[in-house]
C-alpha cells in the first residue's frame, strides 16, 4: 500500500495481484487506497479481436507520455474456457512504450466471471490511480454484452471498428452504441475504411443523438500513427468533460455499490448453503418430485432471515 503510493513498481504490481486474486485483505487495501484516488481518468478501448486495439493503445500511450502524462494500461484478454489458463499477448504490440518511464502495463485475463472482472478492472485502475498514473487505458475485447460491462468502469469509451470485418458495424448493434463516446475506424489504410466510417455516421444520424458539437468518428492507422493525434485530443477532451457530468459519476458509483452488495450476498448464499443438509434435502425433494424447484427455493430463502431493506414484493 505504502509502496504503491510511493510509486514503487513492484509494490504496485503486487497490490494489483492481491486485488485481482481477491487475496484476503484486498478490501482493506482498497479502502485505504480510495482517498488517494479520483485523479485519474479512465479510457476504455474496446472492439473486435484483431481490430488493432493493442496497436492503437501503444500509439495513444506514446502520445500521452509525450504530453507529460503518466499512463497505466490494463490489457484484458479472455481466459481459455477449457484450461482456465490464458495467453496474454497484448504487450507484443506495445513495445514502443513498454520501457517508457511513466508507463505501467498490466495484462489481465477474464477468468470466467465477467461480473468479477468488471469490479477487478475497476479496482486495478484505482490502484494505478493511487500510484500516480493520471490516465488509465483499459483494452478489452468487445464482442458481446458481457465485455461491454467491463468498459463501464471507464470515463470515456472508444469503440474500435475495422474495414472488411463484418462484425465491425455488427458489434455496434449488440449494445455497444450506448457506451461509445467515440468511434475509431482503425486500419484506415485499408480499403473500405471510408465505408465503415460512413456506416457509423449513418447509424449515429438514425439514433437521433445530437452530435453536431463534436466529432464522433476517427479514422486511424495504428501502424503509421496517422489519425491518432486528433483521436487523442478528442479522448482527453471527453475525459475532461466527465468532471462536469455529475449524473454519470453518481450513476456509476450507485452501480458499483449495488454490484458489490449483490456479489457479496450471492457469495454468502452459496457459502452458507454449500454444506447445509437442508440444501441437500431440498435438492432431493426436487429430484424425486416430492417438491418443486420453486417451493424448494422459497423454503431456503426463509433461512436467510429478514432483510432490513424492503424487497421488491
Amino acid at each position: 500500500m505504502r509502496g504503491t503510493l510511493a510509486r514503487e513498481p513492484r509494490a504496485l504490481a503486487r497490490l494489483v495481484s492481491g486485488v485481482e486474486n481477491r487475496t484476503p485483505g484486498w478490501e482493506d487495501a482498497m479502502k485505504a487506497l480510495y482517498p488517494h484516488t479520483g485523479k485519474a481518468r479512465i479510457l476504455g478501448i474496446t472492439g473486435p479481436p484483431g481490430g488493432g486495439k493493442s496497436s492503437l493503445t501503444n500509439r495513444l500511450t506514446a502520445g500521452l507520455v509525450d504530453r507529460g502524462h503518466r499512463v497505466g494500461v490494463i490489457a484484458i484478454d479472455p481466459s481459455s474456457p477449457f484450461s482456465g489458463g490464458a495467453l496474454l499477448g497484448d504487450r507484443l504490440r506495445m513495445r514502443d512504450v513498454s520501457t517508457a518511464p511513466g508507463v505501467f502495463i498490466r495484462s489481465m485475463a477474464t477468468r470466467g466471471s465477467l461480473g468479477g472482472l468488471c469490479q477487478g478492472a475497476r479496482d486495478v485502475a484505482r490502484a494505478l490511480d493511487a500510484a500516480g498514473y493520471d490516465l488509465v487505458l483499459i483494452e478489452t475485447v468487445g464482442v458481446g454484452q458481457d465485455e461491454v460491462e467491463i468498459v463501464k468502469a471507464a470515463d470515456v469509451v472508444a469503440v474500435v471498428c475495422v474495414p472488411g470485418q463484418g462484425d465491425g458495424v455488427q458489434a455496434l448493434k449488440a449494445g455497444i452504441m450506448e457506451i461509445a463516446d467515440v468511434y475509431v475506424v482503425n486500419k484506415a489504410d485499408r480499403d473500405g475504411a471510408d465505408q465503415v466510417a460512413a456506416d457509423i455516421g449513418a447509424m449515429l444520424a438514425l439514433s437521433g443523438e445530437d452530435t453536431t458539437d463534436r466529432e464522433m468518428v476517427f479514422p486511424t492507422n495504428s501502424l503509421s500513427g496517422e489519425g491518432v493525434e486528433p483521436l487523442t485530443e478528442a479522448l482527453l477532451d471527453r475525459a475532461a468533460r466527465v468532471e462536469h457530468a455529475p449524473e454519470r459519476v453518481s450513476e456509476r458509483a450507485r452501480e458499483e455499490v449495488l454490484l458489490l452488495v449483490e456479489r457479496e450476498i450471492a457469495r454468502r448464499v452459496r457459502a452458507g448453503l454449500a454444506e447445509d443438509p437442508r440444501l441437500e434435502s431440498a435438492v432431493e425433494g426436487v429430484v424425486t418430485r416430492r417438491s418443486d424447484p420453486y417451493s424448494a427455493a422459497e423454503a431456503l430463502l426463509g433461512l436467510f432471515g429478514r432483510m432490513e431493506v424492503v424487497t421488491g414484493e
Partner: protein, 133 residues
C-alpha cells in the same frame, strides 16, 4: 472463499535470433496447463524482460534462447531483477543450451534449465513447485 489464484508466467525471447516457435509452443502449452502466460515475442531486451516481469508480477520468467548468447543474456536479466529487488522471481531458461553451460547458468541464479523437447508437464510442475513459496 478461497482466492482464485492463477500462476502467471512471462515467456520471453531475448536475443537476436528470429525463431519463436519453441517459445510459442511453451506459451500455448502452459496456457493449456492452466497458467496465465504473458507472451512478449521476439527480440526482447533484458531491460524489457525485467520490467515486464515486475509489472506483471509473474510467478516465473521463462527465457527461450537459441542464439548461443544465453550466458550473457540470462546474466543480464538476473542482474536487472536483482537491482530492482525482484531476485525472488524464478528464472527458467529453455532452448539450445549445451550441457556444459547448465551448471554455469544455475550458478548465475537460474532456477531451472529445460532444453528443447522437455515435456510441458515437467515445466509446469517445476513452476508450480517454485512459485509463491
Amino acid at each position: 472463499m478461497t482466492p482464485d489464484r492463477k500462476l502467471r508466467v512471462l515467456v520471453a525471447k531475448p536475443g537476436l535470433d528470429g525463431h519463436d516457435r519453441g517459445a510459442r509452443v511453451i506459451a500455448y502449452g502452459l496456457r493449456d496447463a492452466g497458467f496465465e502466460v504473458i507472451y512478449t515475442g521476439l527480440r526482447q531486451s533484458p531491460e524489457q524482460i525485467a520490467r515486464e516481469a515486475i509489472q506483471e508480477d509473474v510467478d516465473a520468467v521463462g527465457l527461450s534462447i537459441l542464439s548461443g548468447a544465453h550466458m550473457s543474456l540470462t546474466g543480464r536479466v538476473l542482474d536487472l531483477l536483482r537491482e530492482q529487488g525482484a531476485e525472488d522471481i524464478p528464472v527458467l531458461v529453455g532452448g539450445l543450451i549445451p550441457d556444459q553451460d547448465r551448471e554455469a547458468l544455475c550458478e548465475l541464479g537460474v532456477a531451472g534449465v529445460f532444453t528443447a523437447g522437455t515435456p510441458i508437464s515437467e515445466v509446469a510442475d517445476f513452476i508450480q513447485s517454485h512459485a509463491g513459496a
